[in-house]
Amino acid sequence: MAKKVGTEVSFAVADAVKLADVDVIAAYPITPQTHIVEKLSEYVADGELDAEYICVESEHSAMSACCGSSATGARTFTATAGQGLELMHEVLTIPASSRLPMVAAICNRALSGPLSVWGDHSDLMGVRDTGWIQIIAENGQDVHDLTIAAFKISEHKDVMFPVMVHMDGFHLTHVIEPIVIMDQEDVDKFLPPFEYNNKLDPASPVSQGTYAPPHIYPEIKKAQDVALVNSKETIKAIWKEYGDLFGRYYNPIETYKTDDAETILVTMGSFSETASLAIDKLREQGKKVGLLRVRLWRPFPFAELRDAAKSAKTMIVLDRALSFGGPAGPLCSEIRSAFYQEKNRPQIISFISGLGGRDIDPEDFEAMIARGEDIAKNGSDSEYEILGVRE
């Protein structure tokens, strides 16, 4: 029987990877990802996980080795954060375009400079357009379940895309939570072996990663984009199957008290649980507020979002990343796009907060909602506001 244990969230990632019986891990240490790869190294050293752990000399080589591993048909995992994800960036487009399944745990971290090892979503936004499926976890249980499900999604014949599972650095990775760790038997039932038809094998030679001039490049890119957009239905089906089997359901858009909400706060990641405390308090005061959390960042669930926010007159979007000199926080830009063509679109207000590991308390969320409603009524001088910064 699966049992609930008190464990560090990073270890719950490692346990998920072990339960998935991964073949190859290639990773380079970076704070706050280290506890994941240290635990996996122990599992490999103790023989609890029969895998090759490649201690590469950089994140660039980590992702490169993952490409080679996946192309050879091996179940493949890596983990990184912040600058490490930035160094991987060039390689990230390869598994997405060559359709190489793998799972990457991303311990979201602010970007230099100044140097910050603490969390925000700058790294996540930087890799937005690399073509990966990107899933956002909010707590330790999410991390464990979504990592296991990510392998099934990634390797599904109708998907075949690499998957990132994002989790906030420190705020999530380094906390100890009660988490139900899955049984091997259950995981084996849920997760079939990885079968890759185009694997590098002298018995049937394929050429991977060819060269495409203008007469064919756009066709290849459209095929890739259509496949990524279509993967959403399979992702939903696999999450539903997981819920039906194990009782924990996941959705592209998660909602909290949104049914009749006129003001909806939109968040992404571990701060959502704090935000829900503010929602509870405001509800007690009789305010029609709700919380909407984006779980699936790519492919973006536009229809699900619009459906979940039908009652909203105002949407207040929290971004933990800046698009310097841009129109809004990157998450808010997406939300605005989603509603732009709607006849009765809500006002959509952009706030940026929680950069570089700065906390956001329930009171801060209350203030954010109040300020958002104020802007909705009276307007603002700027496209977005940065909150929680000393003036």
């Binding site: 073949d23 190859v24 290639a26 029969d50 895998a51 090759e52 490649i54 201690c55 590469v56 000399e57 950089s58 660039h60 080589s61 980590a62 490169s64 080795a65 993952c66 490409c67 080679g68 591993s69 996946s70 192309a71 050879t72 048909g73 091996a74 493949t76 060039e90 390689v91 390869i94 060559s98 072996p193 590098l200 094998d201 002298p202 018995a203 030679p205 394929v206 050429s207 991977q208 990663g209 060819t210 060269y211 495409a212 001039p213 064919i216 290849i220």
Partner: protein, 307 residues
Amino acid sequence: MEKYGLYTPRVAPQKEYFAAGHRACVGCGEMLAVRLVCKALGKETIVINSTGCIEIVSSLFPDTSWEVPWMHTLFENSAAVASGVESAIKVMQRKGKYADGKVNVVAMGGDGATLDIGMQALSGAMERGHDFVYVCYDNEAYMNTGIQRSSATPYGAMTTTSPPGKKSIGQQTWKKDMPAIAVAHNIPYVATASPAYPFDLMEKVKKAAATKGPAYLQIFSPCPTGWRSAGEISVKLARLAVETGAFPLYEVENGKYNLTMDFEKLRPITDYMKPQGRYRHLTESDIVLIEKKLHEQVQELRDKSSR
């Protein structure tokens, strides 16, 4: 080698694993080297290719010149990709998920991909001890992007980013000694080879593939386009490079040097330089200086070989 090379071509493996129909320039020495390397490696091979001439001319979608499994991802990372392939085969064979038997995992790239942008990935892969072969095709500049200098460009050579001028001789630095850097990783096999000596080249490739652990090969690859030379003399230039000491042939087995091709007297360097436009601007004193340096290098290799 040349002495008995005359009758041996007919015993070379007939099968081509790098097929005709590639779009390389007329008289490309690099593609000849690739063809010979693939012949020597045979069917049980996986090639990981860096971005560059080889990749561009052989993989214009949906065409491929490759008869063995082939993968290209980026410019600087083929050694790292090969690490992943080698590790995947190792673990999956252990777990019964991949056919048993030896598979040659071979990463290849040009001198820019190897000596410059990809040296970190190569160093990492050699240090970790993966069972793979790395082949550097050395045409002494970034030819695919239009003949820019690399750290493999020889002193004095003209490229588009090392043009000779009032204040410059052309390339101002001496060629980076990459085989020595590979040797410094304490890997079991390092060698240089030339397509002018096809049987020496194929023997070295076979040795490298049979070596357990990392092996590094640097293969001289005449580039008529980049060197401003005639296509029909590509093999002749490759031979002259060896005979003049511009590209000595040697191997290093478990740290032990062995000059595989030596001559009582090296030919004058002008025999090699004269047919190439990239050296046309050099003065007599420049050439004397270059020749002296090359002779010293060959002597150094002789000394190491006799130890």
